[in-house]
Amino acid sequence: MAVIEKDPPVQLEVSSLSINFGGIHALNEVSLAVKKGEIYSIIGPNGAGKTTLFNCISGIYHPQEGSIQFEGSEIQLQKPHKIAQMGIARAFQNIELFRGMTVLDNLMAAKGHSMKYGLLRAAVYIGRCLREEIRCRDEVEEIIEFLDLQNLRKSPVASLSYGLQKRVELGRALAMNPKLLLVDEPVSGMNVEETEDMARYMLDVNEEMNITIILVEHEMGVVMDLSDRVTVLNFGTKIAEGSPREIAQDPQVINAYLGETQKLSV
């Protein structure tokens, strides 16, 4: 669980968000408020609208109704790259890296949006261009150290194991200097050890880098251990919100998510 100061300000506010795809209500009047510094999880069965919500926040979908405010400004109609520049980064469920490029190059590429030099300077590689490159490499090295990727700098992403690729994916999102990180199923398909490592890294990211995290995850152990608050979606509708303990005991959640016979463990 994240350690946050008392009563932090709301960083991301989603109000009455609705989106339809040809008559299917992917999201229906969803509202939530994520506070600065917390780890906020969104859970729900397949097709509940979790990834759609992420796509709305990162600007890939534009919802038909409702608003999304990030640090006080409306981002609902912004383009994805603008939203990224504002400080919302995303680590994808299906690793979105350049597979043929090395780990280092992938992380440097993620820095592209913050490097400020033109084509001409880049061609001669002096002055501001060089300074910018060095600054970015320095920041990337911090991430490499943070995620213990030192031995993989020069390895092509395609040659890494799935668990490591996921870690690089997280690194790529971090390289964008986010204030808010959207993480989509970070531990899916991982073994126990990889899951533990990943959970540890998420906590460290939250604590050491002071980054708010919104997490979509099916692995209940991870959700229950890491989250400060949890929201449950079912068929595009929010059915519950609260601390992991409250959620685990909510009969509606148990019914929707796991069927009546099973219980969530805390």
């Binding site: 490499r137 090295e141 490499i144 540890r200």
Partner: protein, 600 residues
């Protein structure tokens, strides 16, 4: 030879005065080798030392250090010694229980830990350690919200020391002046293949004395460089990374992380490389496997030039002049094959490679010689303060050389090697009984059986307690046979069994990577180590390897039956020591069923 009248803190002050801004250490950080000068080294030790004094460390206090190799490990070590404290190294791979045992037994009041993982171990057991007062953490990552009042950061302690130093700049030097050559410098807990680890108390003087003598063999200068990668709490790495640099003044490089050691060794290409047999065997078998996977031309070149390398190795080991023809051939071989192999191994600039810690198969050392790396085997104990034997002139396969100048050595009637107590340790900490047992009549009873040949070179037969006496009454040294087996790229560990039995048998642990590789290229499906170990074709493969070894052995020494272990030996399961030596007793007990089957 005179005993040196100095201590490690005094040596540091002296070296810093002499070398000033010359590089003492390098540490790779953010992908760049960052340099630490002798001045910074002294400064860091001074601040941390005064910081420790502020926390209440006094003469005679024990400060444990638990973490991976890094410059801060060294600073903490010398800082504790500067206050006439005693530093105690703990293996970072040790479990909570083992950490607790050492912290408790060594009566440590302070512990310096590397990172969160190690901190968690100490926190888990601190309630049963009433003596412990402070936990000082080097890397605070992930610890921001630990609220235990015992925890403080390394840099915070340094900062306290810095303030204290500004108030009284002479204080540190006064502390250093008070250190005496006979003082206890550090305690080394031997990994112990039997029972609990025992704490060997090492005084400054005897250790420095032995280092001076060992340098007859190493011939170090201050232009040498090493990479620190073995655990610093082991006497071998402690010598190479902390003590010898303080005497000689060469540069120590710290790897970026455990996973990058091989890469970092390649980058630095150290002039001296100390290793335990396990690592040299691993490198050797990796090369054997890689050669089979490479292009036909490279493979041809390797096999073509190999005999040339081996022939020249014979001359080199005997320190004879190499005939001109062979010199020319060798240089051609160097251009085509040896050079690139050395580069891959990170041995391009390596002038000397040393194997220690356990016996090694002569074949392995000969291989390194054939690449043009001067490879030697040395023998010493923690209890003898790292002083023992090493080849001063000729390198003989299977021999560990002559005693160094500081060591007086003789064989007991039963062949046990004895070392005169003049240059050895001060005893086991809090274990007078074990001390009396090993230090008798002024001689250290090493527990190793040896022979001295006509040239005065020592040959190690085996550990006294490991020697196998078959039911036929033959004495057999198991480690010699085991080492021959471990030369095979497919065998990682071999344990010979047969004490009071009719014939010898072996438990085999296969080298997972290499056998897996072999299985893939032979279209054998497998999922885990266990499924490989149970495979009948793998059994045939190992059988073939063992038959090859058997051909080189006398009849009584041949291994008649063997079993492949279905699990990998693990330190966590108490089957290996922290230095990866097998614990025979544990293994004999755990695999009793398998052993009985072989004698059924």
């Amino acid at each position: 030879m005179e005993k040196p009248n100095t201590t490690y803190p005094k040596l540091l002050v002296e070296k810093a005065r002499m070398y000033q801004n010359r590089v003492a250490m390098r540490e790779k950080y953010k992908g760049i080798w960052q340099e630490i000068s002798w001045n910074t080294y002294l400064e860091k030790v001074k601040n941390f030392s005064l910081g420790l004094a502020e926390l209440g460390v006094q003469a005679g206090d024990h400060v444990s250090i638990l973490g991976e190799n890094c410059p801060e490990w060294v600073f903490a070590d010398i800082a504790a010694q500067s206050l006439r404290g005693v530093s105690v190294g703990i293996y970072p791979t040790n479990s909570e229980e083992q950490v607790k045992y050492i912290l408790d037994h060594s009566r440590s009041r302070f512990v310096v830990v590397g990172d969160q993982e190690q901190t968690d171990k100490v926190l888990a057991v601190k309630d049963s350690l009433p003596m412990l007062r402070n936990i000082i953490v080097i890397d605070m990552k992930g610890l921001r919200h630990y609220e235990d009042p015992m925890i403080s950061s390394f840099s915070a302690v340094e900062e306290r020391g810095r303030t204290a130093d500004q108030e009284n700049p002479d204080r540190f030097y006064k502390f250093v002046d008070q250190t005496e050559p006979q003082d206890e410098a550090f305690i080394i807990y031997t990994s112990g293949t039997t029972g609990h680890p025992k704490g060997c108390v090492i005084p400054h003087q005897n250790h420095i004395y032995n280092i001076h003598a060992i340098n007859d063999i190493f011939q170090f200068t201050d232009n040498d460089s090493v990479v620190s990668y073995l655990p610093l709490c082991h006497i071998l790495e402690r010598g190479v990374s902390i003590s010898i640099p303080l005497v000689i003044g060469y540069t120590v490089n710290f790897a970026e992380s455990i996973d990058t050691v091989q890469q970092n060794i390649q980058e630095i290409s150290p002039t001296f490389f100390a290793a335990v047999p396990r690592i040299l065997e691993k490198l050797y078998s990796t090369i054997q496997i890689k050669i089979e996977d490479t292009t036909r031309f490279k493979r041809f070149m390797y096999h073509f030039w190999k005999p040339v390398g081996e022939r020249v190795a014979q001359y080199r080991m005997a320190k004879e002049k190499i005939p001109l023809l062979w010199t020319i051939l060798y240089w051609l071989g160097y251009l085509w094959s040896f050079r690139s192999l050395r580069e891959k191994l990170g041995l391009l600039n390596c002038k000397m490679l040393m194997s220690g810690g356990a016996p090694i198969a002569p074949e392995i050392l000969t291989f390194y010689h054939s690449l043009g790396v001067y490879a030697i085997e040395m023998w010493a104990l923690t209890e003898s303060c790292g002083g023992g034997t090493g080849p001063h002139h000729e390198v003989k396969a299977g021999a560990v050389g002559e005693p160094i100048r500081s060591v007086k050595l003789r064989l007991a009637d039963d062949g046990e090697i004895l070392i005169h107590s003049d240059s050895v340790f001060a005893g086991y900490y809090r274990d007078p009984e074990a001390t009396r047992e090993i230090l008798r009549d002024g001689w250290l009873h090493t527990g190793d059986i040896g022979e001295i040949d006509e040239d005065g070179q020592l040959h190690i037969v085996d550990r006294k307690k490991d020697i196998i006496i078959t039911s036929g009454g033959k004495n057999i040294s198991p480690s010699e046979i085991e080492n021959k087996m471990k030369c095979s790229p497919y065998i990682k560990e071999a344990i010979i069994i047969g004490d009071r039995m009719k014939y010898l048998t072996a438990l085999i642990q296969i080298e997972y990577d290499n056998v897996g590789n072999w299985a893939q290229s032979n279209k054998i499906a497998y999922t885990t180590y266990k499924s490989l170990a149970q495979n009948s074709e793998v059994y045939e493969l190992v059988k073939h390897e063992i038959e090859m070894v058997n051909e080189t052995l006398a009849r009584v020494e041949t291994v008649k039956k063997f079993k492949i272990l279905e699990k990998e030996l693990d330190q966590d399961d108490e089957e290996l020591t922290a230095t990866q030596k097998v614990k025979r007793k544990v293994i004999a007990k755990r695999f009793q069923k398998e052993i009985e089957e072989m004698y059924a």
